[in-house]
């Protein structure tokens, strides 16, 4: 069975030219036969009579038969080889077309014929083409294999033809040279019918006529089983250059098969040639040498007439050989009739190969040699996979430390000048975007969930046992949440009778005189950073988180639009400094700026993708809990880069776009009115 590489590199024209040569030889033999027939006809007429004439005519008739057989069999051989050449040419063309198709789809075809997508994440077309291309290649190889088997079988039949049987050097003196280097495993089984070898002479005959050969290495174990159950060590015979062992076997019919055809060696007909010639006297050694070179173990199946290799059996269902030997890793799929590619099975439904060597759907990264999952790319620096999809194995936006193999908490660089906590490795403060010079207050509650995931976020205020006022939450007229009213009144005292205690009268402050609490930002950021606290803020703030964040990603690179300008925030994506033009990565990343770390990971992918719009927009990665950093690698590719996204993301993630707008306005107003308070907050 030809391999992918052999079929790619084979020379079908050699077979075609050989076939044409055979046909020209057949034509020559035809002309010779015509002339010879004329002379024979004269001899059979009135020119000559007598016993001598009868003897001469017998010789002439034999020669006529030989010439006829020469013409017919060489013509048949020419037809077989020409057909094979054309079939191989077609198969090779198909195979090369498949390879060209694979290359056109960005795929790599290994010398073994395996199709690999070197870029499975981005080359989706290549992923889709792997199956069809592999199927094309498999079909081409199968066609070549079928043509090869058929041609070899027919040649094996020709090797047992009349020409070789009758004139196979039987009457001449032995001139063979023994080979036998690789004959250790050849075993031929004699058939019950008279052997072809016996028609052209017997082995005894060979011996009596001085069959000699040149001794070579003589591995034993090449056996031929006779009808009587006796065996002859062909290896010893051929190696020693004598036919003694064969001659000693009564009824020796080496490699016979029903119909007088003979067992083949590593190419059908080789043994036939060898032993047939040996019987006729002279080519045993040569044939045996050929047998050795061709590899042992191929015999003609008496049912199919096709050569069967070592460990190869014919599938009665498909009629094709099934390789069962250790070296053969390819079997014929009984459903498809095509050779199964190692590690690849054919899906009976689709007819396309299914990768089974690795996990279904997984492809092998040519760089790392490791299976790469969908949505996973290999970091060229670390050689480790980067989760860019919705994977949850690591935090979104988290890269793997090549030294430790553990996720690194801060994949992106911090803003220069930002102090980093030695304990957490996270920036302790993050400058805000909207208000120059102002920043969110540092974390104050180590136990807060925010503190573990986010950087530069405000902490939750300590939970106090202060009774909650029943006063309704006042809304800011601008549309966003403003603040909680101050709580007043005496603490709730439990009713000693077990009933409900009576609440003290509630005194709500006048909204017109309301003064924002300096600690309000803490409340807002904390609530927005922690998903569990979102319901407490009221349903109106929750839907705003996503939409507001969409703009945040875009505005993350645009200080003029983000945070500081309430009019730029909100539902208008164009005001977000290119959130929509930023591409899918940016948008998905923006969606992840909330409490969902997985979506935030998508945002990281968009921002980190080389050449993507997200990268051009300088979208930063956002960590858990709203902790965000800008993409320091993006600057230089586009104009909007490097703005810390956390400053924008944090408040918007808390209270949504409208709230962020209000918050920004509030911050501005508060800064103008009470600048000292802001400083105190920090």
């Amino acid at each position: 069975m030809p391999t992918f590489q052999q079929l790619m590199a084979c020379n079908p024209n050699a077979f075609t030219h050989a076939g044409e040569t055979y046909k020209r030889m057949a034509q020559g033999f035809g002309k010779v036969q015509q002339v010879f027939d004329q002379g024979t006809k004269v001899l059979s007429g009135n020119v000559w009579s007598g016993v001598a004439q009868k003897v001469a005519m017998g010789q002439a008739t034999k020669l006529q038969g030989g010439l006829t057989a020469s013409g017919q069999e060489t013509s048949q051989a020419g037809t077989v080889l020409t057909t094979l050449g054309h079939a191989l040419q077609a198969a090779q063309t198909q195979l090369r077309a498949a390879v060209a198709t694979a290359h056109g789809a960005g795929l790599i075809v290994t010398p073994t014929g395996q199709v690999i997508n070197p870029n499975p994440v981005y080359n989706q077309v290549g992923n889709a083409m792997i199956g069809p291309v592999t199927a094309m290649m498999t079909a081409a190889i199968a066609e070549a294999t079928a043509a090869d088997l058929a041609a070899a079988g027919k040649i094996g039949m020709l090797a047992a033809g009349k020409l070789i049987q009758t004139f196979g050097s039987g009457s001449g003196t032995g001139s063979a040279t023994g080979g036998g280097e690789q004959m250790a495993a050849v075993t031929s089984t004699a058939g019950p019918t008279p052997a072809a070898i016996q028609q052209g002479g017997t082995v005894d005959h060979v011996t009596s006529e001085g069959m000699t050969g040149t001794a070579g290495q003589n591995p034993d174990g090449v056996l031929a089983v006779t009808n009587s159950g006796k065996t002859a060590d062909i290896g010893a015979t051929a190696g020693s250059g004598t036919a003694g062992d064969l001659a000693q076997v009564p009824g020796m019919s080496v490699g016979t098969a029903p119909g007088g055809t003979s067992v083949a060696s590593g190419g059908a007909g080789a043994v036939t040639t060898a032993l047939g010639s040996a019987a006729a006297g002279g080519l045993l050694g040569t044939g045996a040498a050929q047998l050795g070179r061709n590899g042992a173990g191929t015999t003609l199946d008496p049912i199919t007439g096709l050569p069967v290799g070592t460990g190869t059996t014919i599938d009665p269902t498909t009629g094709l050989p099934i390789h069962t030997g250790a070296s053969a890793g390819t079997t014929i799929d009984p459903k498809t009739g095509l050779p199964a590619v190692p590690g690849v099975s054919i899906d009976p439904t689709t007819g396309l190969p299914i990768h089974t060597a690795t996990s279904p759907g997984a492809t092998i990264d040519p760089i790392t040699g490791l299976p790469v999952g969908t949505g996973t790319t290999i970091d060229p620096n670390t050689g480790l996979p980067i989760h860019t999809g919705t994977g949850t194995s690591t935090s979104a936006g988290t890269t793997i430390d090549p030294n430790t193999g553990l996720p690194v908490a801060s994949p992106t660089t911090t803003t220069p000048g930002t102090p980093v906590s030695p304990s957490t490795g996270l920036p302790t403060t993050t400058p805000t975007t909207g208000s120059t010079g102002s920043s969110l207050p540092p974390l104050t509650s180590p136990t807060s969930p925010v503190a573990s995931g986010g950087a530069g976020l405000s902490s939750l205020p300590p939970i106090s046992s202060t009774p909650i006022s029943s006063a309704p939450i006042t809304s800011d007229p601008t549309g966003g949440l403003s603040s909680l009213p101050p709580i007043s009144g005496p603490p709730i005292t439990p009713d000693p009778t077990g009933g409900l205690s009576s609440l003290p009268p509630i005194s709500s402050p006048d909204p017109s005189t309301f003064t924002p609490s300096p600690s309000f930002p803490d409340v807002g950021s904390a609530a927005g950073s922690v998903g569990s606290s979102l319901p407490d803020l009221g349903s109106s703030s929750i839907p705003d988180v996503g939409s507001g964040l969409t703009d945040v990603m875009g505005t993350g690179g645009d200080p003029s639009a983000a945070g500081g300008d309430p009019s730029s925030l909100g539902a208008d994506p164009t005001a977000g400094g290119g959130a929509l033009p930023a591409g899918g990565g940016s948008l998905s990343g923006a969606g992840g700026l909330g409490a969902d770390p997985a979506l935030a990971g998508a945002g990281h992918a968009g921002a980190a993708a080389p050449g993507s719009n997200a990268a051009l927009d300088g979208g930063g990665s956002v960590g858990l809990g709203g902790g965000a950093t800008s993409d320091a690698a993006a600057p230089g590719q586009a104009g909007h880069h490097g703005t810390p996204a956390a400053a924008v993301a944090a408040p918007i993630g808390v209270i949504g776009a409208a709230g962020a707008a209000a918050w920004a306005a509030h911050r501005r107003r508060g800064r103008d009115d009470q600048p000292e308070d802001d400083e105190d907050d920090e």
Binding site: A14, G28, G39, L43, V47, A152, T272, N294
Partner: protein, 131 residues
């Protein structure tokens, strides 16, 4: 025992033709062998390649053997014709020696005309073994 008739010249001509044909067979085989041996080049891995190589070797050997047999056949025919002619000449010479009237007058023409003289002169004995 049937009678013997032979036209030595024609037998020899046919023999020469057979030898010539044998040389043609040898030429065909020699010319084709070089092409056939090249068929296996670059086609490793195919079962047909070694099978064809073996077939080619066997067929070429058989054809050479056939050509050899044909050449031998032609030489046999030529020898037979020569023997027929020589025998006749010897018989004629012997008869002339015993009969003076036939001295210098051979009874068997060197060139036998088969159409006019289908049989050889009866002076050729039946014990002749041309082959």
């Amino acid at each position: 025992m049937t009678g013997i008739s032979a036209i030595p010249q024609q037998i020899q001509d046919i023999g020469r033709k057979a030898s010539g044909l044998a040389q043609e067979v040898s030429g065909i085989v020699s010319a084709g062998a070089s092409y056939l041996e090249m068929a296996g080049s670059g086609n490793a891995g195919f079962l047909t390649t070694p099978a064809m190589a073996a077939l080619t070797v066997a067929q070429i050997a058989a054809l050479k053997n056939l050509g050899g047999l044909m050449d031998e056949h032609g030489r046999d025919l030529g020898g037979a014709g020569q023997v027929y002619a020589t025998t006749e000449q010897a018989v004629v010479k012997s008869a002339t020696a015993t009969d003076g009237t036939l001295t210098g007058q051979p009874t068997v023409q060197p060139v036998v005309q088969p159409a006019v003289q289908p049989t050889v002169q009866p002076t050729v004995t039946t014990t002749t073994r041309p082959v």
